[in-house]
């Protein structure tokens, strides 16, 4: 398989194992370009990519921009706060306006789950979901998998513990859909108030005791506590969360001796993770950032390549 037979990347839930494998293989090749003195290849010359972000973001948006520019695409970046959206232009009209300017691919982050799906139905251009509400963040799931693959040489059979605010986390959802497809075992751990309803129907193991969840894990993926959402009493205090669920050196000892520690960022040091662990020997947090660019390059390449009949409005 060397073609993604789809117009859009909306989530990992509806992707097949071979599609994910193709993306990861392509991303491994793309990484080499990032280590060159001249980080530029001419592949996407003449293609226009637009990032349309309704939520704040540093790493995801910059990562997409760097990926597109490395492949020589032209990039325009639109942040909701500084665009005609504040004048009341609807999401649909914004999309149609940009499509009429010749945007070949939209990268969309939105606070509402399903917004990229709506966009994908509205425009002929390609759409990549850069995070929609509490639903999915497929490129984060893919870059996490690429990082695990690099660290462990395989995904099949790995035990991956995802810790933290599972309820609000699109990263957790993309992780679990992607990883279970690739043959890994996913353990979700967090306070009961931060586990989604009907979590028992997901293909995962659920723990409310962090020490049990970490026992024997190959990977510990620590989620950010979304302090901006923590105003409705999900747990008594940040300090109590840190004590009961924060990842520190002692807790990490329960995992495999060669455990890999991951965090999608931005980190709340001292809350979900202690600084010595975040900067410690098991941490691959900065590798994740580099892999994010490689994965996004792979997706842009695979979607914008070929004589497809979509993409040109």
């Amino acid at each position: 398989m060397n073609k993604l037979d789809r117009k859009d990347i909306l989530g990992l839930q509806d992707m097949t194992q071979s599609e994910i494998q193709l993306i990861l293989d392509t991303a491994i090749s793309m990484k080499e370009i990032l280590n060159r003195p001249v980080k530029k290849v001419p592949t996407l010359r003449g293609k226009t990519v637009c990032t349309l972000f309704y939520e704040p973001s540093t790493r995801t948006r910059t990562s997409f921009e760097v990926a597109a520019k490395t492949l020589s695409a032209d990039v325009s970046s639109i942040a909701a706060a500084t665009s005609a959206i504040v004048k009341g232009e609807s999401f649909k009209d914004t999309l149609l306006t940009l499509q009429a300017m010749g945007v070949d691919l939209f990268i969309i982050r939105h606070q509402s789950g399903g917004a990229p799906h709506f966009a994908a139905r509205t425009v002929k251009s390609h759409v990549i979901n850069a995070g929609d509400g509490m639903h999915e963040h497929p490129t984060q799931g893919l870059l996490d998998m690429l990082t695990m693959l690099e660290e462990k040489g395989r995904l099949d059979g790995l035990v991956v513990t995802v810790v933290g605010d599972i309820l609000h986390s699109r990263v957790a959802r993309s992780n679990l859909w992607g990883l279970t497809k690739m043959g890994a075992t996913v353990r979700l751990a967090g306070p009961k108030t931060l586990l989604p309803p009907e979590v028992d129907k997901l293909p995962v193991e659920v723990y409310s005791n962090i020490d049990e969840a970490i026992e024997g894990a190959d990977i510990v993926n620590v989620l950010r506590i979304q302090l901006e959402r923590m105003n409705s009493g999900f747990f008594p205090s940040v300090r109590e969360y840190a004590k009961l669920f924060g990842i520190n050196k002692e807790r990490l000892r329960r995992a495999k001796p060669d455990v890999t520690l991951m965090h999608p960022g931005p980190m709340n040091r001292g809350v979900e993770i202690t600084p010595d662990v975040a900067d410690g020997e098991f941490s691959v947090i900065t590798d994740q950032v580099t892999n994010g660019v490689a994965v996004r390059m792979a997706l842009l390449y695979l979607l914008l390549g070929g004589g497809s009949n979509v993409g040109t409005a």
Partner: protein, 189 residues
């Protein structure tokens, strides 16, 4: 797609070995030794050929020759028109190409478009002192002003034919076959 194994065998293992050995000598002769030479194979089958050439040159001259592997998918001129984007392999060149005499190796030279992509890819990595081109088979039909410096065998073909190079490293045996194409589609190589 025609069967890659049937068809007329135009080179066997001995023919390939002799041609590669001759090219190794020609490289040394033309460059008056192996100083500053590096050999870069175009993926996939240019790579084992590059490794063979480097080994031979080392045996003859006693100087070690670095070998690299180049993937040109990102530089192709048909990226936007092909139905399937070419699969991207990893380029592995762990030496600085600047000021080196690079011998680019491909198994077949045909339209010249792959070579053009490879030249652009190399230029993005530095400024080689020279780039030379070696091909096991030259089958003609150039669409660009490109010629090989070293050729294993000139093979006059029609555009309706395929040339398949099989190598031990990638296909289990050394041979070159030429296959007639049934439909009017253009040959892959």
């Amino acid at each position: 797609m025609p069967n890659k194994d049937s068809g007329n065998k135009v080179m066997d293992a001995d023919d390939i070995r002799r041609a590669v050995t001759r090219i190794a000598h020609e490289i040394i002769e033309k460059n008056k030794g192996a100083e500053k030479i590096a050999i870069i194979g175009i993926q996939r089958r240019g790579v084992p050929l590059a490794q063979r050439l480097a080994k031979l040159i080392e045996q003859i001259e006693g100087t070690s020759v670095p070998v690299g592997s180049l993937n040109v998918a990102l530089y192709r001129d048909d990226y936007a028109t092909r139905l399937v984007p070419p699969s991207v392999g990893k380029t592995e060149i762990d030496f600085d190409v600047s000021d080196r005499k690079i011998v680019l190796v491909d198994e077949v030279i045909y339209t010249g478009r792959t070579t053009r992509s490879a030249l652009d890819a190399l230029m993005d990595m530095g400024r080689p002192a020279q780039i030379q081109l070696a091909a096991l088979i030259d089958r003609g039909h150039r669409e660009l002003p490109i010629r090989a410096d070293y050729i294993g065998k000139n093979l006059p073909t029609s555009r309706r034919e395929h040339v398949y190079v099989h190598l031990v490293e990638t296909d289990g045996e050394d041979k070159v076959v030429i296959v007639k194409q049934e439909s009017g589609e253009r040959g892959a190589q």
